[in-house]
């Protein structure tokens, strides 16, 4: 049963991250995703101090806000202080992450988070923290409910905003010309990324979130030229990694989060080498260059 809950949690996290990651990598914003996943830490610690719990709505909102604030800060440093953009990202997230670690040390007695957990989570403990109703009924692990709810939100977001997200990622100039607000959809996307990061943080940690945000979409990008296929494929790749990662971790007795990240990397290497259309070891091109037609 424990294995089931852990793999389910991993799969849900993988679903959210892989979906949003497709948009991030196509917008060339993979490193902004990385920055957000680190920068939500102080938000999580503060929300934890204020509400005293792990899986609460205030925690999701509070820390999620900090994620959006990160994108504002990066924008601000870049646009108003004119810091070069990659440096703005680097300065912002390391600064916020350092604050988070310091807060954890200062309030070590009151915050039930430790530094290692921050980096690679403790998905193994997910089944231990059960949601028991007042009637004494066990509803299963708390984390599964939180991340499940976030998954539904993300799915709704992508279904409702599919057209706009697609258009603003592909051609923001044209989007603006026909009256689709690029900055609105940019910040909505960043809000979704923050929410996902916060919800996944405790179970898989900051770095694995990045692995799932970047690796499955990048792998899918090498396998298909169709955007919808890319979305579906990266979710499948993420879930497969959650399964395989779990058993890899059990086998060598290591961190499950680390193992899942390892598997996503392995998937990428396979696609990089053997993708039918783009693998570097597959010499024949499936599609011949198109003849010019008059």
């Amino acid at each position: 049963m424990n294995a089931f809950w852990i793999i389910l949690t991993g799969s849900l996290v993988a679903t959210c991250c892989s979906l949003l990651g497709c948009y991030l990598i196509l917008r060339r914003m993979a490193m902004v995703g990385d920055a957000i996943s680190h920068a939500v830490l102080p938000g999580i610690v503060i929300a934890f101090l204020l509400t005293g719990s792990r899986d609460s709505v205030p925690m999701l909102i509070g820390a999620g806000l900090l994620g959006v604030l990160t994108t504002f800060l990066i924008e601000f440093f870049h646009r108003y202080a004119r810091v070069q953009s990659d440096a703005a990202i680097g300065v912002t997230f390391t600064w916020l992450f350092a604050i988070g670690i310091i807060l954890i040390s200062v309030f070590a007695g009151q915050v039930d988070l430790d530094q290692d957990c921050v980096l690679y989570g403790e998905i193994a403990y997910v089944p231990l923290d059960l949601w028991i109703t007042e009637g004494g009924l066990s509803m299963g692990p708390r984390t599964v409910w939180t991340i499940g709810a976030v998954t539904i939100l993300i799915l709704l977001f992508i279904i409702i905003g599919y057209k706009e997200l697609f258009l603003t990622a592909f051609d923001p100039g044209y989007a603006a010309a026909i009256g689709v607000s690029t900055s609105l959809w940019y910040y909505l996307l960043m809000t979704a990324v923050s929410l996902t990061t916060v919800a996944s943080f405790e179970s898989v940690g900051a770095i694995l979130v990045v692995a799932l945000l970047v690796a499955p979409p990048a792998t899918a990008y090498l396998l298909t030229d169709n955007f919808k296929t890319m979305l579906v494929l990266s979710v499948i790749l993420g879930i497969v990694a959650a399964f395989a990662g779990y058993y890899l971790a059990v086998w060598i007795d290591g961190s499950i989060a680390g193992a899942i990240a390892t598997v996503t990397g392995f998937e990428f290497i396979l696609a990089f080498l053997f993708s039918p259309s783009r693998g570097i070891l597959i010499s024949k091109k499936l599609v011949e260059p198109v003849q010019q037609q008059v």
């Binding site: 490193m31 300065v91 040390s105 900051a206 692995a211 090498l222 990240a261």
Partner: protein
Amino acid sequence: MKEFFEFLSFADANVRYVTLGSMLLAGSSAVVGCFTLLRKRALVGDAVAHAVLPGVCLAFILSGTKNPFILLIGAFITGWISLVAIDFITSRSRIKEDTAIGLVLSVFFGIGILLLTAIQHSGNAAQSGLDKFLFGKAASLVGEDLIAFSIVAVLLLAATLIFYKELKLLCFDETYAKTIGFPVRGLELLLTTLTVLAVVVGIQAVGVVLMAAMLITPAAAARFWTDRLGVMLVLAALMGAFSGVAGAYVSYTAPAMPTGPWIVLIISMIAILSFALAPGKGWIARIIRRQRNKKLILEENLLKLLYQLGEAKQDFSTNRPLQELLQKRAIPAKEAKYGLGKLKAQGYLEKTKNGWALTHEGITRGRRVVRLHRLWELYLTQYLHLASDHVHEDAETIEHIITPELEQRLLEELNYPALDPHSAQIP
């Protein structure tokens, strides 16, 4: 205060190690960081920092010891592989650089974590302390570490000194460097190696996750104070070293505090203050410049106004009350009074009970503003073909910014004109 002097006296051997160690590490990585920053590859350092972890773990598994040199070699190898991987992925597939960085960073780190936890669970007693690589161990540096890191730090600084000219050109203009026959590939290799080396030692102080800050933040801060590479390197090194010492001090006074994050917090504050306060490029300096512009515009507008009022009858000695000025031009009364007061203090205006009048200097300056205004209007109509009723607004701004050299140039291009497009005399 007593603690502070105790700290400064370095009486405690441990304090000596920690302080010197942090200084060397932070300072030398800041120097290398300047080059990666200028080459717009700041975040690559982040990937290297994360990629070092599996190397350390593998080195431990293979050798079974925690000898710093062996671990450093392991770290160096995987750090190097990560950079090669990023370049390989971006050049051989349609994956873009940011994705490649994120991918390499998180996957290498995941492998590292997997190995680290496997080692921890294996019950090998020798492993304790390996996890210090995650968040650094500046507070527990010992003499042996210090020797290893000093050697690397000296190597780094020596290499930057020896290849200063070449690296400078590589950052400034790669294509030019190529055309004049510089071994660009070799230099890139050198810079890659230096970056990996800097990361490998810097990680001892602040750990994997925050290492990126040691490369990027001091360089970004220093960039705001100077445009010269040499000065930038020295400044970045000083800022890095200072944050190293300050971080060590914090953990000396409060031993529960993690040194690495404090070093990063301090250098980040220095950077943010630099973004805001640096003269010239800083955000606040630019706001001040804008405020000054506003004041200049207000004052020159008042002078121009008084000049124009006197111009018709060539009578600049009549004193004019504030009311008359405000009637002619709608300036908020409060602003106008403030500006008039300022101008009087500067000797451009005189005030009697009847009102305000220009001094001799005031006439000269007022005339110049009017002249520039009309010259610019003429320029716009002649060279930009703007209708004469559209040129005034533009001239209202430009009249305040034209330098004497540009004025001369305008006069020449317009052939020393007498009249503006509205047929008013150009004084």
